[in-house]
Chain length 492, copies 2
């Protein structure tokens, strides 16, 4: 069993290759249990909760002819740092869904390339092929591991063992898919989510729904997108739901049957913002055209009267060079791909149908993986976070929309950061008063990882605590913090 | 929670420090599960079995005043490479005995220094304090994790979960201790073992016994040593049992009560070989004096008429600088400490009571951790193995006692080897026809480990297969190979 060594191939270099980012396709593969991590500095006494992460991790190398598969197709590998009484336990476990189980038994890859079922081994044709490798979320006593092309997996929040590899909530959802970027309603704590390609491969149906804290589907609607595109994240305000449709488009079944890639950047297509009321039947959705962009993550959003505002990070064109273009003129352009904070605004009143507006903010700062203080989803907010760089150097950035000031946490030389998560200092702490937690990898120590805790109000002072792993942490696209008092009791 | 950084202290540098040997006291601490390791080269198709390992791993740093504790006091951490159908799974688990459980719950070290119960925290005084960190063995469906100062722990051979942290076999053993170097009888497969300090701390009682394949104690005898010393290994021939007593001696209860170290090198004491018949009451034991030496591991041994031969590796004096000496003249001498293959011979007939003879063999080669083809325990043998160096460079050495030839496997630059294990090429393969399996750590990759499979008959050709871990393997003193057909079925 070996992975290819040629760069750019699926799992290239395997788990023992040179340290690289998840986007480099590096494998990790090993499950870990580390009781009581070693710590430099001081973990705040009253910090109690768990930082969950998930990322794609190649379970097996792809067979000959499919080695070009992209890193996004790695099987889900979840991990957790449980912090309590200034002690930290670290755990990582595969998302053991049907795909993982089948491959584990066969001791080889059976599923073909990223989101193309036509490339699967005949033995698994039509079987569940999800990877649930993009984001984790806490809901109703379970950790949900999610990827936008299937329903989530449900994991035990203490052991990360897979409870259900294809979790259907109350069985009432009409969607076959579930975004990796659900939201919690700031007021009710309900789970707000959607699925695109909701009724099958390449379909333009978007299912949007609300699930209460006990897992009951309390609202759902089905709307039509202008065309089938990657809708990675979305936005929910107190009144509205907003989808961004950009020209990373599904290129058709014919191409898929030839073994092609699910997405291609087709700049001949328009960029849209779809806005609809929450709680309705979806018939009110308006698709407003606007300037071309590709934005993958929502920083924050709110409704002010009829006006709806959404902040996202993104570029002027395709940000993923590994998705080819059907048009010769659409070559990947790293300058256009550069991610910046963009504020979208639109009039949801239907009084005047006009294009949405897009304004680049903090033009000197670039990056991605925007986050906020999650308690301020759906409502006006002050602080946004991103990983990137600017005049203050590279690292985690905090944007203060009130003052326009940007603060930077820089991890030092030969160190690279993953996406951070904001953790309130205590229950009821004001917005932005708390910590940033996230992984830092050390290139000169074979990619060894530390979990850093940084005071979000004193980012330039460096980490208040460094939680040390003896190896590379499991891979991560996104991470999620759950306060300790929300977790169920540990079973004896 | 942090480990000291000053070299020489218990767990110095923790698990994230610079790569070092187990004797450097480095911690590892994390449990791992890695399905289907990546492999360079080709694992022989018919190689089927499991390579088990164990070593000391500091569960927690010692409290102030006890940080001088030695690496040998690290808690047992067991690991396994399961090789079958050219696939390899890697697993590591703590030996979760009472000591581990108590410290795990307290989230700190409760037990004091190496084999000195007077240094324990009052909350655990008189409680089981074993670490079972030295060697693993397969017996009666269980993996035994062993250290010479307590009974073994019994682990599940497939999961390494601790089944019994203080395993008493059939409850009939009179010994409170159990060597880390039992033997299997070449003919019967029975387990042959002994315990020194068998009736309590500092006692000179040696219990020696035989346990059948079903765990039944079928013979035991109690003998007296000339004084209480470290008897790390021993020798069993078809007829005789042989103990080497060297001047690494117990220095008395008074010193222990002051927090002292269990052993000290006292060259005023004599060196003895004790020889006794198997199966008797032990009253026939003869203690023959001979030249001073310290030998920790048996390579091979046999009886020829009245003559008994034992090959061990060892030096002319103390090999463990961390055990101090009560005499000012006994300073640690690295030249005298150098390990070489030594052949002891003695006349067991009692016709003429004369000193034992000790002959250094292969004088140009030095090293330690002697092994052999385990099927030839108790009987005349041809091939011995050791880790060390000589004219052919450093690495794993094979000594051919028939031709006097020495072969060397050298792992290349920036690489350090652990003890290897000999694996027969197939059931019934001639002596020495098979593989050497063992761990190699790569200094320039943060100590990342590979399991190497080397053809024992073509050692200079390099490894036939390199099984790659993405991190440092769990620590090891010794390792043990179990053929697949001896393992119990995996529970569904």
């Amino acid at each position: 069993m070996r992975f290819p060594t040629e760069p750019g191939l699926f799992g290239s270099g395997g788990s023992t290759g040179r340290p690289g980012s998840v986007f480099g396709g590096q494998a990790n593969r090993s499950e870990h249990t580390l009781y009581d991590c070693e710590v430099d500095g001081d973990i705040p006494d009253d910090l109690d909760g768990a930082f969950y992460r998930v990322g794609p991790d190649p379970q097996y190398p792809k067979p000959k002819g499919l080695e070009h598969d992209i890193a996004f197709d790695g099987e889900g590998h979840a991990s957790m740092f449980r912090i309590q009484n200034s002690h930290v336990d670290y755990l990582s476990r595969w998302v053991k869904n049907e795909r993982w189980q089948r491959q584990h038994k066969a001791r080889k890859s059976l599923y073909g390339v990223y989101r193309n079922p036509y490339t699967d081994d005949p033995s698994v044709r039509g079987k569940f092929r999800g990877t649930q490798n993009t984001q984790v979320w806490y809901h109703n006593g379970r950790i949900l591991a999610m990827k936008e092309d299937t329903l989530p997996a449900a994991l035990d929040p203490h052991t990360l063992e897979t409870l259900d590899g294809n979790y259907k909530f109350d069985g009432k959802l009409k969607s076959q898919t579930f975004t990796a970027h659900p939201k919690n309603d700031s007021q009710t704590g309900n789970l707000l989510a959607f699925g695109y390609e909701a009724t099958g491969l390449g379909t333009t149906d978007i299912s949007v729904f609300e699930i209460d804290k006990k897992g009951k589907t309390i609202w759902q609607a089905m709307v039509k997108a202008p065309y089938c595109s990657e809708i990675h994240d979305y936005a929910i305000t107190e009144k509205h739901i907003i989808f961004l449709v950009y020209p990373l488009a599904y290129l058709g079944e014919e191409l898929m049957k030839k073994g092609g890639v699910h997405w291609g950047w087709d700049s001949t297509r328009d960029t849209y913002l779809g806005v609809m009321r929450r709680g309705g039947d979806g018939k009110d959705i308006q698709w407003l055209k606007g300037p071309q962009t590709m934005c993958t993550h929502t920083m924050g959003c709110w409704t002010d009267g009829d006006m709806v505002y959404v902040d996202m990070d993104g570029g002027d064109a395709n940000q993923f060079p590994f998705f080819p273009s059907p048009n010769p003129n659409d070559r990947f352009d790293p300058v256009k791909a550069t991610g910046r904070v963009r504020r979208f605004s639109m009039d949801a009143s239907k009084k005047t149908v006009r294009p949405f507006d897009m304004k680049v903010m903090y033009g000197q700062y670039s990056g991605g993986l925007a986050r906020q203080d999650d308690r301020y989803h759906t409502v006006p907010y002050r602080y946004g976070f991103m990983i990137g760089g600017g005049p203050g150097g590279g690292g985690w950035l905090r944007f203060d929309h009130q003052t326009g000031k940007v603060n930077t946490f820089n991890p030092g030389p030969d160190s690279s950061l993953s996406e951070m998560c904001f953790v309130p200092r205590r229950k009821g702490a004001p917005e932005g008063d708390g910590y940033l937690v996230g992984i830092c990898s050390r290139a000169k120590e074979n990619g060894r990882s530390d979990l850093l805790i940084v005071d979000a109000q004193h980012m330039e002072d460096g980490a208040v605590a460094t939680i040390k792993l003896p190896y590379r942490a499991a891979p991560q696209v996104h991470g999620f913090w759950v306060p300790g008092d929300q977790l169920p009791p540990v079973k004896a």
